[in-house]
């Protein structure tokens, strides 16, 4: 078990209950870990930092859209690690890279993150991906998730019910995650 498991589990539990600050802290921490993990793995296959960043974002989105699959009865770190490893294997398999030598059980997520968070960007353009979504979803995500309006405010502004706004956000993010997953795969 990793040393910060209790701390991460507390953050995740709070995030699942809707604590945005805890969620942000958690995702920032995990993105650093994931970056270290993917860089160390991909460097063996001659891939660049931007490829690692693509995977980091793919996983962050997967963690988000599937965050309900974490049960607080279980440890949190193995949950994240299983997703990270799944995405890596899927990525390598799609590229037909030999990965027979990859130690499947290595807990390499423990590798310290390189602190170059600002230097690398993924190959995705958020605005371009958003523009591919249906109008309602775009609007809901822009207002609530980017401009930071509350769901109630966004509902009034776009003349939709609150639950319609929530559904639009949920579906939109799911679509966004699928688009990014598809791009990682291609």
């Amino acid at each position: 078990m990793q040393a910060d498991e209790p701390e991460l589990k507390t953050l995740m539990t709070a995030a699942q209950s809707g604590d945005a600050a805890a969620y942000r802290t958690l995702l920032n921490h995990l993105s650093g870990r994931l970056r270290g993990y993917y860089k160390s793995k991909l460097v063996r296959y001659g891939r660049s930092s931007a490829d690692a960043e693509d995977l980091v974002q793919d996983v962050i989105l997967a963690l988000h859209t599937r965050r309900h699959t974490y049960s607080t009865d279980e440890l949190f770190t193995p949950w994240v690690h299983a997703i990270a490893r799944y995405k890596l294997i899927d990525y390598l398999r799609r590229r037909n890279t030999g990965f027979a030598d990859m130690p499947l059980d290595s807990m390499a997520l423990e590798i310290e993150a390189h602190d170059d968070r600002n230097a690398v960007e993924s190959g995705y353009d958020l605005q371009r991906l958003l523009a591919k979504l249906p109008e309602k979803m775009q609007q809901a995500i822009r207002q609530v998730k980017i401009e930071g309006l509350s769901v109630a405010e966004a509902a009034v502004r776009s003349d939709m019910s609150e639950s319609a706004v929530k559904v639009s956000i949920h579906r939109g993010l799911k679509k966004l995650a699928d688009m990014i997953a598809d791009e990682v795969k291609s």
Binding site: S31, L75, R117
Partner: protein, 213 residues
Amino acid sequence: MKTEELISVLSTNVEPIDRRQLSREIIAAVVVGTVAAIGTALILPGMRADLSTEYALAYFCAKMIFAAAVIVVGTIYLLRLARPGAVPQSRVLAVTWPPVAVGAFAALSLISAPLWHWHTMAMGDGWLECLVSIPLIAVVPFVAVVLAVRRMAPTDLVRTGALAGFVAGGMSAAGYALHCTDDSLPFIALWYGGAVLLCALAGALLGPRLLRW
């Protein structure tokens, strides 16, 4: 896009999750699949006519208990496999106890029967029909379970697929039991058990393709 940008989008106004969503969706799929399997069995091969006799009813119940055990045990492990994280091999092997138990009962009933009965007990009238019908009736339940599990996050697609096939096989066996007039424990063990394992095998082969996310 910078990862920080993405994190900022995701963590702004984050909605609380529904902790029971996962189990509710899988259980709903199992209920829908079971109803579909029973419906298919009643419409296509049709209901057996002799359920009023005590003998037939007893074996009907035995088949239903087997099917229910497969569904319940399979669903419990499916709920675990739909979540990312390690599941010990030994715990997943525990799903094999319904086929093993029915096999043990079958062996007991064979031992207590005369040798010249064995062939009829084991083969019945419709072993081939049973072995073909159960996997066919399992198609719709399998699709229902796969659609639900795809919305979760299975990370071991072969095992999850096998378990989805296993549970679908159990649902289908419950439907087929309404039709089947072969009443013996060795028949249930061999052909119901065999058909459910075939479904699990098909699920294991299809899992990596159907469950990928």
